[in-house]
């Protein structure tokens, strides 16, 4: 190493020194510690005791663990495809040449920055079985068939669909990304396709879709990773809609016991931090596999700067 190399290295380390501390203290150490705890019997009050694979073995036989996993997959399986469709649909509408486009974009985007606690309160009220806006709209229609709207968050069959509907309200973020992707499709491609006599469906199928497919796939996987970690809405709303329970019970009838909620309550209410860490690591592996898949999908796309 020459003197100038050393000088360069010193400068590099100096500029990144904050991150070296931050990476170690707030990411690297927790990642390693979490892995270690997952093989331990650990409450934060006493030091961890090694127990090998015991936590993982117990998880395999834990009905609530499987229930929370099923709930989470059900939620993700509905909210991610529907959210992608809604976001893509809105983006395509906004990609047309119409007046007031930026105004519409503003309207669709706004819900996605609303604080989750506030939107949980709002949707709690909207989904109120008696006086809520949702049933206020549905009941006159369902009434024609002699039906009336469900109790939504208080009904085990409808609590997860209610959370999915709420999530669709916040798809503005993805819509903005897809709109940017659509606007990057070269106009000449459309013109060429039109000259060749392609119908609007064919133009969508063979011009639009192939160009934005990687963006859509990437963002859908990111949304999936986000959906796997669903916490705040479910935590706040399940308790509120079902009265004097514990926020981590996943009421009604554990229909909103999601993975992160079970993990949180295991760690911070039952103080079984080793068991919770094992759950966290399983989530980590699933997320890592999905991320790897997302990275493969988006590889080869050149990113331009801001």
């Amino acid at each position: 190493m020459t003197r100038s190399d050393r000088k360069q290295l010193r400068a590099g380390l100096a500029f990144t020194s904050l991150w070296i501390v931050g990476l170690f203290a707030f990411t690297a150490y927790p990642v390693v510690a979490s892995l270690y705890y997952s093989f331990c019997d650990y409450s934060i009050l006493k030091s961890p005791v090694w127990c090998g694979l015991e936590n993982y073995r117990q998880l395999a036989h834990d009905g609530l663990f499987w229930k929370s996993l099923r709930n989470t997959l059900f939620y993700a399986g509905l909210s991610v495809p529907l959210g992608t469709l809604v976001a893509l649909g809105l983006a395509m509408l906004l990609n047309c040449e119409i007046r007031g486009r930026s105004f519409f974009r503003l309207l669709f985007f706004m819900p996605s920055i609303v604080p989750v606690v506030a939107s949980a309160m709002l949707w709690l009220w909207i989904f109120n079985g008696e006086y809520g806006l949702m049933n206020g709209f549905l009941n006159p229609i369902l009434g024609l068939f002699g039906l009336h709207g469900p109790a939504w968050l208080a009904d085990p069959a409808w609590s997860k669909p209610a959370l999915v509907i709420m999530s669709l309200w916040g798809t503005g973020n993805a819509m903005v990304i897809y709109l940017a992707g659509l606007q990057n499709v070269p106009r000449e491609l459309y013109e060429a396709a039109e000259i060749d006599g392609a119908s609007s469906w064919q133009r969508f199928r063979h011009v639009t879709l192939p160009t934005i497919a990687p963006v859509v796939a990437f963002n859908a996987i990111m949304a999936l990773i986000g959906a796997m970690q669903l916490f705040a809405q479910a935590y706040i709303m399940s308790e509120a809609a079902n009265g004097n329970g514990n926020a981590s019970d996943g009421n009604p009838e554990r229909s909103t016991l999601f993975y992160s909620i079970y993990l949180f309550s295991t760690a911070f209410q039952d103080i079984r931090m080793g068991y919770a860490s094992a759950m966290a690591y399983i989530l980590f592996l699933v997320t890592a596999a999905l991320t790897w898949f997302a990275a493969r999908l988006s590889r080869g796309r050149s990113g331009e700067a801001l």
């Binding site: 203290a25 979490s34 459309y190 966290a280 991320t291």
Partner: protein, 378 residues
């Protein structure tokens, strides 16, 4: 591509209008509820417009609540005997024909409304009421703006407010502290760090950067338990520190975002400054930072929104009510009071939402551009 004034153009516009109605309606419902008196939040059929109902009771024109419609005809009477002697009450026509020891005050038609004077309860007495035909009740639009100060006062809870003086302003201050210190930390630390990755050439840089990117895929639940232990060890549980201190030590996403931007600034600018004998810090501070305002603003905005909206962080680390952020205070108000005071709950929610909406409206373009570039880059 829909061209103006074609059929497909009209369909697109119609769809857009329908969709925007669906997206805006929850906001309208939020604001509408927040401006209603409590009895109008739980009356059917649903209404969007808060009203004041006025009627004459005992010769006085007062604001009333519409309680219920009587199904059959009858009369308002004054009882002469029995437990209710001297009081007024409603009897149906059937009861009347069978004979009631009471003097008829006035007859009541089927479908008339029972109305009660609003805020009319006198000490020990019942508020004034009457049963009158619907058309004798006049109504006008009236927004209850006083719901807002009342909701904010209720947010802190009653008993504790006196002892610790915890209330809306404390929660607001906590939220502002966490958001502002977090924004400063995010912008400062990540800019410095990203400079090291983008504009300096040193051994191990690329490997270190790859490691940095890899940390982005760690889900927060994995870090949650040990992080709690770290902050407990530092004695920070129950303070605001865990919510903003880490921002001063960089975050992988922001480092990536800023590095990408810094790399687009021509290298010649730095070279020229180096030849003039400028230190790296001076180049960073005097050349790179001023040229990078767009990316710094994006990072600042994103972090502000994140910090303001965060729920899990405050839930994990904050233990005493006087350290609660607005988001956590709102949740705790709801869970303590249950779902009855919808008008207050919506007013408090609206106040929590307002700052981010205002910020967004002020910096719309930057926001949208920031999301579009970060999302499609991946």
């Amino acid at each position: 591509m829909a061209r103006p004034h074609t059929a497909s153009h009209r369909i697109v516009v119609a769809l857009l209008v329908a969709c925007s109605a669906a997206f805006v309606l929850p906001f309208v419902w939020l604001v509408s509820t927040s401006l209603k008196p409590i009895e109008q939040t739980i009356s059917l059929p649903l209404t969007f417009i808060p009203r004041a109902y006025m009627a004459a009771i005992g010769g006085r024109q007062v604001e009333v609540t519409l309680d219920y419609a009587v199904s059959g005809p009858g009369a308002v009477v004054r009882f002469n005997s029995g437990p209710d002697a001297g009081r007024t009450g409603f009897v149906t026509s059937g009861q009347l024909s069978r004979g009631v020891d009471a003097a008829v005050v006035h007859p009541v038609q089927a479908g008339s409304w029972h109305v009660t004077e609003k805020d009319g309860a006198t000490l020990g007495g019942r508020p004034a009421w009457d049963i009158i035909p619907r058309e004798q009740v006049s109504s006008r639009i009236r927004f209850r703006w006083d719901n807002y100060p009342k909701a904010l006062a209720a947010l802190g809870g009653d008993a504790e407010a006196d002892r610790h003086r915890v209330g809306f302003w404390t929660f607001l201050r906590n939220s502002v502290v966490v958001a502002v210190l977090g924004v400063l930390g995010t912008v400062f630390s990540n800019a410095v760090i990203a400079y090291g990755f983008a504009r300096l050439r040193w051994r191990g840089r690329d490997a270190f950067f790859a490691l940095t990117l890899a940390t982005m895929m760690v889900p927060f639940p994995v870090l949650m338990v040990p992080l709690y232990g770290v902050f407990k060890g530092l004695g920070m549980i129950g303070t605001l520190l865990p919510l903003w201190l880490p921002t001063w030590f960089g975050s992988a996403f922001n480092i990536f975002l800023m590095r990408q931007f810094f790399r687009t600034i021509p290298e010649e600018l730095s070279e020229a400054a180096r030849i003039d004998g400028c230190s790296e810090w001076r180049i960073f501070w005097r050349i790179i930072v001023p040229l990078s305002t767009p990316v710094l603003v994006v990072a600042a905005l994103f972090h502000f929104i994140f910090a303001w909206n965060d729920f899990l962080g405050p839930l994990l680390y904050l233990t005493r009510k006087d350290t609660y952020t607005l988001a956590l205070a709102l949740e705790s108000y709801q869970s303590q009071n249950g779902g009855v005071q919808w008008h207050y709950l919506m007013a408090a929610s609206a106040v929590t939402i307002l700052p981010v909406i205002l910020l967004f409206l002020l910096a719309q373009k930057t926001f949208i551009r920031g999301i579009a570039t970060t999302g499609s880059k991946g």
